[in-house]
Amino acid sequence: MKSFIKARDVKTIFNEKVIHDGINLDINKGEIYGLLGPSGCGKTTLLREMVMLQDFHGGSINILGHELDAIGHNEAQKLRREWGVLFQAGALFSSLSLRDNIALSLVEYTNLSQKMIDEIVEFKINLVGLKSSDASLFPSQISGGMKKKAALARALAMDPKLLFLDEPTSGLDPISARDFDSLILKLRELLGLTIVMVSHDLASICDTLDRVAIIDEKKIVYEGSLNNIENNNNKFIQMFFKGIS
């Protein structure tokens, strides 16, 4: 299988505090891959490093064949169009309506006609399970669950190959959370996405993830499928996965 993301020996240091000390992981094409670990272990930091929001201090991260520590401006811009990122609270642009939020990348990066853009936006809105009538609402007028769906539609606007999700189900009620899980599975099936997510939601982890990496004590303590995970004797894994299987 072709690996989309390759991290080798990644080190991160904040104010003399070591966050990651030699992280290695491979994420393959078409996978739903989870980054798990106790809070404060640096899952979100690692995700932010992958999407070039934060620098790392050693090792290398390779995404879709681009080395992040030696990437040029134009190459970085090109790479940014090949992924979508969903932030924890959605991070929709509050000055734009949902339609404009989703259309923004299309307007800026392509020379599609207004009619074509409208059609794409409508398709994406329906794909994530929002109604077309919601399109003219502003982010402050909609609920948390809708915000996440709209942000997902925005992340999918450019038809990315890679999707990064930061705690996609946090703050949602259990029913919406399960809906979101099945939405993610459906999207993977329909669009052949590769999805990387940080999550705490055990139900969502068991339902959606193909493989996981568990970060504890600055290192990856487990990488692989969820099948035999409870046999691992790491303290966090034992605590977290006690009930399943």
Partner: protein, 357 residues
């Protein structure tokens, strides 16, 4: 000792005082009777527990009389957690010298961060001007309207009042010397050259500068800036430069309006108080107030605008991930930009006077 009824943290203080009064040196053993307790909370449990400890270190035997399971369980909980828990480390007090050093270092880091911001701004500007397509006219126009055109009213009013007040105060002095007509020279030069640009800058710093900081700060907290970056929209191009450029374009226009209104205020006072007709005022004005004063005033505009906008935007980007930080940085933004404007004005003043302009 007998406790009965509800024993909660509100009662601890009064019991503590009573216990302190008892002289413990002659007592060999104490019975603590908790039989009649209805309710016993953890704070009182901690109190009883530490009292027992104190007695035991003084060699006093303590017996607890109770059969209530809940009370015993609470006491046990406190005892075991006391054994396992570590003390919360005390906050280390710093000396005066250490805190002076710390503050100085923070200012130094802040200065470096601002230099870093200016450097990034310059690089973006160069990239920006490489192609006309990169210039975001829509955003610039939006910001000109938002932060300048909408400020016209308040700027017109303040400068009108400033012109009025300055003219009124000096009219009284000039009358004493019978030098009434010199009000035109005085007001014209001071208004066009110094007061109008300065007042405009201060109003804009308070009105639009603070808005820049709060807007960008809020966008940072809601991760909108992160979202922009991951989508490949550089916030410097989309948010920072349009604001700075918009203010640099709009500032001279605002100063021009402030000039008109200030002088208008002066004309009114001169007519009412000194009996100088508007016609005479304007004739004298075109005679003695050279055009260079007007142009110097306008020239200051873009410089002040750059100071205000860049400090405001920089402060917005400095907002950390908590809500308090927005207030702190907005205050800082206004104070620092007004200070920077006054410093800049002083430099101009010295420069132009020495150059003989």
């Amino acid at each position: 000792m007998k406790f009965s009824g509800e024993f909660t943290l509100y009662l601890i203080n009064s019991y503590e005082k009573k216990l302190d009064k008892i002289d413990v040196t002659n007592i060999k053993s104490i019975e603590i009777n908790l039989k009649d307790l209805v309710y016993f909370d953890t704070a009182s449990s901690i109190f009883i527990n530490s009292f027992i400890k104190k007695c035991e270190t003084n060699g006093i035997k303590v017996d607890i009389l109770t059969s209530n399971k809940d009370v015993l369980a609470t006491l046990d909980l406190v005892k075991t957690s006391k054994k396992t828990s570590q003390q919360i480390p005390k906050v280390i007090k710093t000396t005066l010298l250490a805190s002076i050093g710390k503050i100085t270092y923070q200012y130094y880091i802040g200065l470096l961060a601002f230099m870093n911001f200016l450097g990034k701004l310059f690089v973006t500007k160069v990239y920006y001007l490489k192609s006309i397509k990169n210039i975001r006219f829509k955003e610039i126009a939006f910001e000109i309207n938002e932060s300048a055109i909408r400020a016209l009213g308040i700027i017109a009013l303040t400068s009108f009042l400033i012109g009025l007040v300055v003219a009124y105060q000096s009219a009284y002095q000039l009358k004493l010397y019978g030098a009434n007509i010199f009000i035109v020279d005085m007001l014209g030069i001071s208004m066009l050259r110094e007061l109008a640009p300065l007042m405009t800058a201060i109003v804009i710093a308070g009105r639009s500068g603070s808005a820049f900081t709060a807007q960008i700060g809020a966008m940072k907290i809601t991760q909108e800036l992160d979202a922009m970056r991951t989508m490949g929209f550089d916030p410097y191009i989309f948010l920072v430069l349009p604001r700075i450029i918009a203010l640099m374009i709009a500032m001279p226009i605002l100063i021009f309006v402030a000039d008109i209104m200030g002088v208008f205020g002066g004309i009114i006072v001169a007519y009412i108080d000194l009996g100088i007709t508007p016609k005479l005022f304007i004739e004298r004005f075109s005679e003695v107030v050279l055009a260079k004063h007007f142009f110097i005033g306008l020239l200051k505009g873009p410089f002040f605008a750059f100071m205000i906008a860049s400090i405001a935007v920089y402060r917005g980007l400095m907002v950390k991930d908590d809500t308090q930080s927005i207030g702190y940085n907005t205050t800082k933004s206004v104070v620092e930009s007004i200070f920077a404007v006054i410093i800049c004005d002083a430099i101009f003043s010295i420069l132009f006077t020495n150059m003989g302009i």
